[in-house]
Structure formats: C-alpha cells, structure tokens
C-alpha cells in the first residue's frame, strides 16, 4: 500500500487545527474544483485534496491516519498488524489497497459526512464516479464504441477494499457533442447493507483536431487561398468529415470571409446537422522569382485597388 501524505496535500502542518484544515481545503477547492477550474490537471488534484480533507476533518479517521506515522509520500508500507488481523489478511502487502478506501472501511471508518456507511443499518448507495474520455472528432461524427478504464473499489469477503481495474465498452452515440455525458447505472462504487451500486458517468471530451475547430455542432476550418485564386476565383478541394468536396471560390474573395456549407457539420440526433464553415485565409509566397516580381510590379503600377481607403480617407 502506498502512503499518501494528506498534510502535504493540503499544505498544512501535522499539528493543524480543524479550522486550519477547513481553510486550506477551501482555498485549494476554489483553485482546483473541476466545475470551476480551467486547470487541465484540476480534476486529479481536486480528488487528492478532497480525499485528504475527508480523512483529516474527521477526528477519528485523522487519529487512525496519524497512528500510521509520518512517512515519505509514495512510500510502500504494510498497515499495522491490528489492521491486517481485522481483515484476516495477515502477511498481506495490501498492494492493491488504497489507503483512503481502507480508512473509509476500517473500524470507526466514516465518510466525509461523518457517517459510517459500513456500520450503518440502513442501505447506503455506493459512490458515483466520473471519468473523462477523449474522443476523436471522427468518432463523434460517425458514432462508435470506445473503451473506458478506471480503478474501482471492490470488497472481498472480509470487507477489505481492493482497487480493481475495470474496463467498460460503451457506444458513443452519433450526434453527441463536447462535454456530454453517458450514464452507466450501477457501475460505480459498491453500496453497503444492501444499498445499490453508484453510477459511472462518462464525460465526452472531443480531442483537438488538426483541421477542424468545433463550436456546438458547427465546424470551422481555415481555407488557404493563393492571391490569384482569391482575385480570379477557383475551384478548390476541401476536407469534410464525410470526405472531400470541391467548391467554387468566387472572384474577389477576401481574407476572413466565411463560406458556409450547410449541414456538413456534426450531426444532430434529430436528423439535421450543423454547418461547416470555411474561413478564408489568403497566403502569399515569402519569396518570389524574378518574373513573378516583375508581374507583381506591373500589377501594382496599373491597379487602382486601395485596400486601406477606409482608414486613410479624410473624414467628411
């Protein structure tokens, strides 16, 4: 079993009062709570913070934790013989046991709310778990399956909670969007005293795509044109999630213009779809050949096009 230094996690001394513990937790929760933080590692950090707080704010659990002694964080250690006897697991290394699961289950136990679920007489439902799954845009477009893996606690016949790796294959529905969730009823943590299992929530996170940007069901991409294509018009091939398409660029197209391709975005479950927007960007060569330079100079000499007229004209 790996030792976790809950005091270090909350950034407090081992002699901290309950008020110090609450204050440290609140400060860190404001910073890392997954619903309010933009830190990509916020969710993981908040889990550690919440776990530390759940133990240290409960006087009995804190005492049990303190009785383990001070060790370096991450150090492998075997729990005291008294704990091993309790679970009929004498000599076990408790390798697949998480210290927080054990503290929750052991003796006076108790959860963050101060209750002791395993000793409660009424049925207590298991914990809900949420796991964020990165999904490729192509899979969101077509629908498909993805595997979701996480570690869940599972109690053996002696009541010892082991961390077990579970993998669920779930179907990504066609038409899902970023941030939407799937609920797997009864696939969360185990309940107590006949209580039901908690639920598992799978939050879909669309992976960054090398070409397309996503806004709701609309897709955007930069369509790069040469100056001559923009001035003269052209037929150009463009990518879509459903395959390549050829579109016509009108003569006189400028940078920043958006060409809308109706219903070529992400599908909706109702049968319609978002739009695909090609955002025009006119690219110029960094170096030109001598003949090209001469042609550009001739063009500059005969052209009366003024690109900055709106900012250089005297106000009337």
């Amino acid at each position: 079993m790996k030792y976790k230094d809950y005091y270090q996690t909350l950034g407090i001394e081992r002699t901290a009062t309950i008020d110090d513990i609450k204050k440290a937790y609140r400060k860190l929760a404001h910073k890392y709570h997954p619903d309010v933080s933009k830190d990509p590692k916020g969710e993981e950090k908040f889990k550690e913070i919440a776990e530390a707080y759940a133990t240290l704010k409960n006087a009995e659990k804190r005492q049990e934790y303190d009785d383990l002694g001070k060790r370096p964080a991450g150090e492998n250690f075997a729990p005291p013989p008294e704990w091993q006897q309790h679970y009929g697991a004498s000599g076990s290394t408790f390798d697949d046991v998480d210290i927080s699961d054990l503290l929750n289950a052991f003796r006076s136990g108790g959860y963050a709310d101060g209750s002791n679920r395993r000793q409660a007489r009424h049925p207590v439902a298991g914990d809900d778990y949420t796991v964020t799954v990165p999904v490729a845009l192509e899979k969101i477009y077509c629908g498909g399956e993805t595997d979701v893996s996480l570690e869940l606690p599972e109690y053996d016949e002696n009541g010892l909670p082991h961390r077990v790796q579970r993998t669920f294959r779930v179907t990504i529905p066609k038409g899902a969007t970023d941030g939407q969730r799937l609920r797997l009823p009864g696939k969360g943590g185990p309940g107590f005293n006949g209580g039901e299992f908690g639920d598992l929530y799978v939050a879909l996170k669309i992976e960054a795509h090398p070409i397309f940007r996503v806004s709701g069901r609309d897709l955007f991409f930069d369509l790069l044109l040469t100056p001559s294509e923009a001035v003269l018009g052209a037929a150009v091939e463009i990518p879509t999630l459903g395959g390549k398409l050829e579109i016509k660029i009108k003569p006189g197209t400028s940078s920043g213009q958006r060409l809308r391709l109706a219903k070529r975005g992400l599908p909706s479950p109702h049968g319609d779809a978002g739009n695909l927007y090609a955002v025009i960007q006119i690219m110029v060569p960094k170096q030109v050949t001598e003949p090209e330079r001469k042609l550009y100079e001739q063009l500059a000499a005969i052209s009366d096009f003024k690109a900055r007229e709106h900012v250089t004209e005297e106000p009337k």
Binding site: R169, A176, L182, R183
Partner: protein
C-alpha cells in the same frame, strides 16, 4: 483484462425524465431541486403539465449542484447562486468558443 460491453444512457437534450428521477440520481433534496427550477437553472420542458418533464441532460446540472453543495459545504442560497453563475459562465464560454472558431 476483461472488457464489459455495457449499454449506457445518453444524457442528451432530447430524452426526458421526471423531477423524481433527477432528485434520485443526483442526491439533491426536493427543496433544493425546486429552488433550481425556480431560478431557471433547471428548466422544465413545459410549465403547464401536472407532472413536469425535464431534458435528461439536467442529470448533469443536478449532479453539479449536489457536488458544489457537498464540496464547498454550501447552503441552499449559496448553491443557487453558484449554479446561476455557473450557467452564466457556460453561456459566455459558448459565445467565446463561437467567436474563436
């Protein structure tokens, strides 16, 4: 490692559920849920029905409210305020994403 193929429930905006379901799944109290409906954080599909129906994606909204309540030890008013601000932030984030795209 064993992989379990499992049917999941898509918490979408086109499937509906009852208030009772949202309360059961989230762990909110009836009073807390009613406040969220009152302030417009959770919106019923139709106000006229005797038994109001809600879009299933509100399971996420109700769960978020319960998590904020528990994790920040908020009272009813604190939770309602946090959820109102969260909704406003979500709307602004959507506008920002659209502008950036």
């Amino acid at each position: 490692m064993m992989t379990t193929v499992f049917d999941s429930v898509w918490l979408s905006d086109f499937d509906v559920c009852s208030a009772k379901h949202l309360i059961e799944v989230s762990g909110l109290s009836s009073e807390e849920f009613d406040v969220l409906v009152e302030i417009g954080v959770i919106v019923p599909i139709s106000d006229n029905d005797q038994t109001k129906a809600f879009q299933l994606h509100h399971v996420v909204t109700a769960n978020t409210a319960r998590k904020l309540r528990d994790d920040f030890e908020l009272d009813l008013h604190g939770m309602a305020l946090a959820m109102t601000l969260m909704r406003r932030i979500d709307e602004l984030q959507e506008e920002l994403n659209a502008a950036r795209a």
